[in-house]
């Protein structure tokens, strides 16, 4: 957008005329748009500048901070020391780091890949056949859990899970059960399933609408059962949606900070997922350089996940 608005006026001015000879001079067989190198560069410069300012620069900055012993206070705040790859080796040898990687994988796998995906699909599939008002009601409730602000939702969950007089303990008649302390991982997994299912449900509703009714009808006429119909008729149609959905919810959950508000990463680091670990080391512990190094490691893990899904998607395309 900005590329067009900034360079369009030059077409009507002398600048355009001045560049014309160069354009003709350099236009080759590959130049589909017929712009020539100079004007092509002019077109992409604003976009490149934005990318540089908001993506490349912060990434380089993180890279740079990651090689420093750079703290929030103390002498390393005023004059950070260069430690090379020290922060990275520190992170990779820290048992707490390994612990949070494993926790994050469990959290993402259970709550997003299995939980949100499965429940979202189940809701979408069941609701298709439900009566109008039931569908509206369930849709509305599920959406509510998604659109409410995180802090509000966490507050509600704290009231639900509270040790003394929490709703869940009242319902189950288990006074004094400390859910967040005794089952921290399960707590954040259930929470995240509850919180994020709406997105998968919406996406799968739309995907299922794209399966032609005639195909389902045909399958039914040939005596195909629900499982078989799903495998042979529905699945091939919605495979792309499944991959896209799983990619998105995996990355969101991987980077989700909400568990911190619910359990504070504890007890004994038992719900300290990577984003929580980064926060606790860099802000609570004041080690900004170390935090940057781990952030970069997280970025790389994100990239690997994204590439993995994109490969799956491409293989499907071929």
């Amino acid at each position: 957008m900005s590329a067009q608005t900034t360079s369009a006026p030059t077409d009507d001015t002398g600048a355009a005329d001045a560049s014309r000879p160069r354009r003709t001079g350099r236009t080759g067989p590959g130049d589909v748009a017929g712009l020539g190198v100079g004007r092509a560069v002019l077109f992409v410069v604003p976009a490149l500048a934005l990318i540089a300012a908001f993506l490349v620069f912060p990434a380089l900055w993180t890279l740079y901070l990651g090689v420093l012993k750079y703290d929030l206070a103390g002498s390393n705040a005023a004059a950070p020391q260069f430690v090379g790859l020290g922060n990275y080796t520190d992170a990779l040898t820290d048992p707490r780091f390994a612990n949070s990687v494993l926790l994050t994988l469990a959290f993402v796998g259970l709550s997003a890949v299995l939980g949100q995906n499965g429940l979202g699909f189940l809701l979408a599939a069941t609701l298709r056949r439900a009566v109008g008002w039931v569908r509206m009601l369930v849709n509305g409730l599920v959406l509510l859990s998604w659109i409410l602000p995180g802090t509000v939702v966490v507050f509600l969950w704290q009231a639900l899970l509270d040790r003394n007089g929490g709703t869940l303990n009242a319902l189950l008649d288990t006074p004094g059960a400390a859910w967040t302390l005794d089952h921290p991982l399960a707590t954040i997994v259930v929470f995240n399933v509850w919180r994020g299912t709406a997105f998968s449900m919406l996406l799968y509703s739309a995907a299922l609408d794209a399966v032609p009714a005639s195909h389902l009808e045909t399958a039914r006429l040939y005596g195909s059962g629900p499982l078989r119909t799903f495998r042979d008729v529905v699945l091939p149609r919605i495979r792309g949606h499944i991959l896209t959905n799983t990619l998105l919810i995996t990355l969101w959950t991987f980077n989700d900070f909400t568990p911190y508000m619910l359990t504070g990463g504890g007890p004994d680091h038992r719900s300290e997922t990577l984003p929580v670990y980064v926060y606790r080391m860099s802000i609570e512990g004041g080690q900004l350089g170390f935090g940057s190094a781990i952030s970069l490691i997280m970025l790389v893990i994100n990239l690997v996940i994204a590439l993995f899904y994109l490969r799956l998607l491409r293989r499907r395309g071929q």
Partner: protein, 480 residues
């Protein structure tokens, strides 16, 4: 062939970006060298704006302080300045959050060369903040008039030291506190324990806890442990116990921190017997992010026998006045809540050969070295610490202030606080003003939490030792 110049060009572009990135990044190291400027800058400005920030909020945390600053201090100061022909506007940034979070917020804003003109620093933070350039000696920020401020004569030497480093004042002190064991006399009566209880060893504490354990629905003892309690763990728990075991966390003479020493292992063992072996404390409370507030609530409801705390508990948690202490107010505080000195591990085994020990906190208000109006800020600082304003801050409540004259007027009104002023302050210790203390404190929190969760003491102590060595180097760690 065509791809080569493109590759070359992208490489050149990347090189430019890297250069730009790294040049800008160079600012990281050059930032805080500028320091404060001319103390007289804007001294004669017609209009000035100052910002004060504290962790207090009207109707919430430390409500009384927030009300005093916004309703009394600011109008009075602005009026006094107008009388001097100066138009000064004071803005108050209220906060009502966890103390550790407040510290993080303040540090982040100071790091960005922002932050309020006047803010509170704890005595233990001065070194870290000074090294980072977030505070400077007041005489450098304001000028030589600092040393001749008459208010200093009213401040005790030990309280002065809490806001000083290398013989220079970094702030104007706001007060001091002390730690004791508070206990519930009604529960003690039911358990057959004396109303004027004074343990003389750690074993006495455990023995009292065992008697309290026979009462149903009562948690006998609460001594802060673990990371969720944050700095409360070190101040109310670990450091008083360590002093009781004969050591301070940092020895200023040798420049060494306690590593895997007998004293550290004794403290960890005490935690273990409290929470694991004898089951006298509630280990879940130590894991709960709201554990400290929960323990306050239990104590106020008569469900907790003994709690190690500062006089803050007496003044601001269980005071009889509901408008100050909200839901945890105790109408019968004066007759129900008892207080005892914290005993050493065994008589005479405490730091300096003491029988009883304590830790004190406190700090003062300081001026941001980057302030635009150092003179006006100094006026406000001294105005805040005038006897009139100190008394206005307290209202009907009583607190150990940093002003001897005010203390002599008000402390006699409150037996618990005069007990702390007379019996605790003479034997108390302060946290070290050493820049790594905060990180070492975090390791102590971690270690005590693991002891309360039942991990083997040797393992915890040696992991703690590794952590300290990594922070300050083996030369600065003592072990035995």
């Amino acid at each position: 062939m065509r791809s080569r110049p493109i590759a070359a060009r992208s490489a050149a572009a990347l090189a430019v970006l890297v250069t730009v990135g790294l040049t800008a990044a160079g600012c990281v190291s050059a930032k805080h060298n500028s320091g404060s400027g001319d103390p007289q800058r804007n001294a004669h400005a017609k209009h000035a704006t100052l910002t004060i920030s504290t962790n207090a909020i009207v109707g919430g945390k430390n409500a009384q302080e927030a009300t005093w600053i916004s309703k009394t201090l600011i109008p009075a100061f602005e009026k006094a300045e107008r009388a001097k022909g100066r138009d000064v506007t004071v803005k108050y940034q209220q906060n009502g959050i966890d103390d550790a979070k407040y510290g993080e917020k303040l540090e982040l804003s100071l790091k960005a060369d922002g932050g309020p003109d006047i803010y509170i620093i704890g005595g233990d933070s001065i070194s870290r903040y000074a090294k980072a350039g977030y505070v400077e000696p007041l005489e450098k920020v304001v000028g030589s008039k600092v040393d001749s401020w008459p208010g200093w004569q009213q401040v005790d030497k030990s309280v002065q030291q809490n806001v000083s480093m290398n013989g220079k004042y970094y702030g104007v002190p706001n007060g001091v506190d002390g730690r004791v064991l508070f206990y519930n006399k009604k529960l003690f009566a039911k358990a057959g324990l004396p109303a004027n209880w004074q343990p003389t060893s750690w074993a006495d504490i455990i023995a009292a806890g065992r008697k309290l354990a026979k009462l149903s629905g009562v948690t006998p003892i609460q001594i802060d442990a673990g990371t969720p309690m944050g700095e409360a763990t070190t101040m109310q728990g670990f450091l008083p116990l360590l002093a009781g075991a004969g050591q301070q966390i940092y020895d200023t003479k040798t420049g060494k921190y306690q590593g895997d020493t007998k004293a550290i292992r004794d403290v960890l063992s005490f935690y273990r017997s409290l929470y694991v072996t004898d089951k006298l404390g509630d280990p879940k409370l130590q894991q709960d992010p709201n554990g400290r507030d929960e323990s306050f609530s239990e104590f106020s409801k008569g469900k907790l026998g003994i709690i190690g705390e500062s006089d803050y508990l007496w003044r601001s948690i269980v005071c009889p006045d509901k408008s100050i202490c909200n839901a945890t107010a105790m109408a019968d505080r004066n007759s129900t809540v008892g207080y005892a000195l914290i005993p050493a591990e065994k008589p005479g085994a405490g730091v300096g050969g003491q029988d009883f020990v304590s830790m004190s906190g406190g700090g003062g208000y300081t001026i941001n070295p980057n302030t635009k109006y150092p003179q006006q800020a100094w006026d406000l600082l001294t105005f805040m610490r005038s006897p009139t304003q100190i008394k206005a801050q307290l209202g009907d409540t009583v607190q150990i202030t940093a002003n001897k004259q005010v203390n002599s007027e008000i402390l006699q009104k409150d037996p618990a606080l005069s007990f702390i002023a007379d019996k605790v302050l003479p034997i108390t210790r302060f946290r070290p003003s050493e820049e790594h203390y905060a990180s070492v404190g975090a390791l102590l929190e971690e270690a005590s939490g693991q002891a309360a969760a039942g991990k083997p003491i040797d393992q915890i102590a040696s992991r703690y030792q590794q952590g300290v060595v990594k922070l300050v180097g083996a030369d600065h760690v003592s072990s035995d």
